[in-house]
């Protein structure tokens, strides 16, 4: 950045200075935008926060749609992009390229997420004072150029340095396709950030970490970094689907295909977790087509359900109101709710209801507990995981009937495997006929059913 330019304070400053830099022919696209879909929506939230706007209220409702500032922000994006102050490949560029441009002074500005910012500020090490902070865009949140982020990563020591690097990872500034690890090569000489990077890379831990983050998996199972920072709740809620839909509209907006005032509309409250957020009106046409297609796809299943389930259910309801002869000779006389009276006053019925409820509760609790534990376990990496995952499906592939026979034999009172096992372990001293004892029999059926269902 030429010395004559003051650090930008507002979006207008960014625009003015970018304009100056461009017209002076110093850089072609002064503002390096990294506006891929996965970060664009993130940036919107960041910009809103930087402008002192709370994007969401406590309940997750978007609260900015009717504010003038978001429209200004979006108009600013449009202008920056359409006047060529942001590189035209902003939607598809990879971060590595941008970092490289940044540190080679092919760009002047890059606003990083305030989350990253906060991490870096909080990581304050001995050399932090040397780092030039670009002034806040609004509110008390500060912003930094990306080059300075790297510089800081180099200037810091130990944990603080790790924290700075970790901040990058959290935001995924070095994403997937972007191979940041070739950047230092082009940085080798000269500039301050470049030196900082190489200094940083000379530190063994950091180098390994950087390679693991960006390069071929040279270092597996490296250092785990201790970091203590805070993530504002608003930034946590982004889900992949949410980000992508929002970003699609934002990209349209930047390209001028949508007007800022039409782009965002508050969502109706949605119940499901992870879907709280906003809704974009421009998607409604496509959404309607989607729903039509969805109905066409479900039609065959609906027909099956009606024929195989709905009609028999109605017939059964009708039958429950009649005295049907056991030989099925006739449809039976209509007797109103007599059958229900018999059923609901019968102790046998209520006993069976009690047994059923005990069975169902025990079954659900046991299956959920075992299933959850197994899922958490199998989500971890360990040798032979694929094998365990594969054999896990066996109980589920086993029909209920077969599972019943299997368990009947397994817990058999004369030659069952369970008895033999318990004897061997010294837990029991004589064979138990589990299915002859009322309590044990119920417990065993619950265990058997949970065994069958836990793997599902």
């Amino acid at each position: 950045m030429p010395a004559s330019l003051e650090p930008p304070q507002t979006l207008q400053d960014y625009y003015d200075q970018s304009k100056k830099l461009k017209s002076a022919g110093i850089v072609d696209a002064p503002f390096l935008g990294f506006w891929g879909k996965d970060v664009l929506e993130h940036y919107l939230i960041t910009y809103l926060l930087l402008s002192g706007i709370t994007p969401f209220d406590d309940k997750g409702e978007p609260v900015f749609a009717d504010d003038p500032p978001p429209r200004t922000l979006m108009a600013w994006w449009q202008t920056m992009y359409q006047e060529g102050l942001v590189q035209q490949s902003a939607f598809t560029d990879d971060p590595g390229k941008l970092i490289s441009q940044m540190v080679n002074a092919q760009g002047a500005f890059w606003i990083v997420d305030h989350y990253v910012m906060k991490n870096i500020v909080e990581a304050a090490g001995p050399a932090s004072a040397e780092v030039k902070m670009v002034a806040p865009v609004g509110g008390d949140l500060k912003t930094l150029q990306f080059g300075e982020v790297i510089q800081m990563g180099g200037a810091l020591e130990g944990e603080a340095q790790d924290a700075a690097w970790n901040a990058h990872e959290v935001l995924r500034l070095e994403g997937r396709g972007g191979r940041v690890h070739d950047v230092p090569v082009s940085l080798g000489e000269g500039r301050q950030p470049a030196r900082a990077v190489s200094r940083c890379l000379r530190r063994p831990g950091s180098a390994g970490r950087l390679r693991r983050l960006h390069g071929p998996p040279a270092h597996r199972g490296g250092v785990r970094l201790p970091v203590r920072t805070t993530c504002p709740p608003a930034l946590r809620r982004g889900t992949p689907a949410f980000g992508t839909t929002a970003a699609e509209v934002l990209q349209k907006l930047i390209l001028g295909q949508v007007e800022p005032k039409d782009a965002v509309t508050p969502a109706r409250r949605r119940r499901r977790v992870g879907q709280a957020g906003w809704r974009f009106v421009t998607l409604s046409v496509r959404e309607r087509a989607n729903r039509r297609f969805g109905r066409a796809l479900t039609a065959p299943a609906v027909v099956l359900v009606v024929v195989l389930i709905a009609i028999p259910a109605v017939l059964m309801l009708d039958q429950s109101l009649r005295r049907v002869p056991a030989n099925g000779a006739s449809w039976g006389d209509f007797i109103g709710f007599d059958n229900y009276q018999v059923v609901l006053t019968s102790p046998v019925m209520w006993r069976s209801v009690l047994v059923t409820v005990i069975f169902a509760v025990g079954f659900v609790a046991l299956a959920t507990l075992v299933g959850l534990l197994a899922a958490l376990l199998l989500n971890e990496r360990f040798a032979g995981r694929w094998f365990v995952r594969a054999i896990l499906v066996i109980p589920w592939a086993c029909p209920w009937l077969i599972a019943g026979i299997l368990w009947k034999w397994f817990i058999d009172g004369d030659l069952g495997g369970l008895n033999a096992l318990l004897m061997l372990l010294g837990i029991i001293h004589e064979y138990i006929d589990f299915l002859a004892n009322p309590t044990l029999a119920l417990i065993m059926t619950i265990v058997a059913a949970a065994w069958r269902q836990a793997s599902w």
């Binding site: 959290v170 995924r172 970091v227 920072t229 993530c231 889900t239 409250r269 119940r271 977790v273 709280a276 059964m316 309801l317 039958q319 429950s320 005295r323 049907v324 056991a326 099925g328 039976g332 229900y340 059923v343 609901l344 019925m349 006993r351 069976s352 209801v353 047994v355 059923t356 069975f359 169902a360 079954f363 659900v364 299956a367 959920t368 075992v370 299933g371 899922a375 958490l376 199998l378 989500n379 995952r389 499906v393 589920w396 209920w400 009937l401 019943g404 026979i405 009947k408 299915l435 002859a436 004892n437 029999a441 119920l442 059926t445 058997a448 059913a449 069958r452 269902q453 836990a454 599902w456």
Partner: protein
């Protein structure tokens, strides 16, 4: 449970956990505040289905005990079987079936209510 929950776990973005560990959240807090809420939709569906499976269970219990000993494992479904196909009381059996279906409906709805009680995490 395991298969579906595992599928649910794998849709969890890894940065969610790195963000939390950056926050200094330990294993149990991450499980309680992130993993569990993330799995909630899956858990809801699976639990509702399991409640229905549990209430409607017949084959396994019938093969193991035929409802015995001393009716200790006579589920409502086994009662229906007896009434309809052993005693030939088709009307009564149908009435029990309706009651059982209502139980399953209520059980399922209760579970949905409980699980979706909190709308935001």
């Amino acid at each position: 449970m395991t298969l579906l929950l595992l599928a649910g776990l794998q849709t969890m973005p890894p940065d969610l956990h790195s963000a939390a560990s950056v926050d200094g959240a330990g294993v149990f807090r991450r499980f309680w505040h992130m993993t569990l809420p993330w799995l909630r939709p899956v858990l809801a569906v699976v639990t509702v289905l399991n409640i229905i499976y549990g209430l409607m269970q017949f084959d396994l219990v019938f093969t193991m005990t035929q409802g015995g000993p001393a009716d200790a494992t006579t589920l409502t479904s086994i009662l229906i079987y007896r009434q309809m196909f052993v005693f030939g009381n088709l009307g009564v059996g149908s009435a029990i079936s309706t009651v059982l279906a209502m139980m399953a409906l209520i059980g399922g709805l209760l579970a949905v209510r409980l699980i979706y009680r909190e709308t935001e995490v």
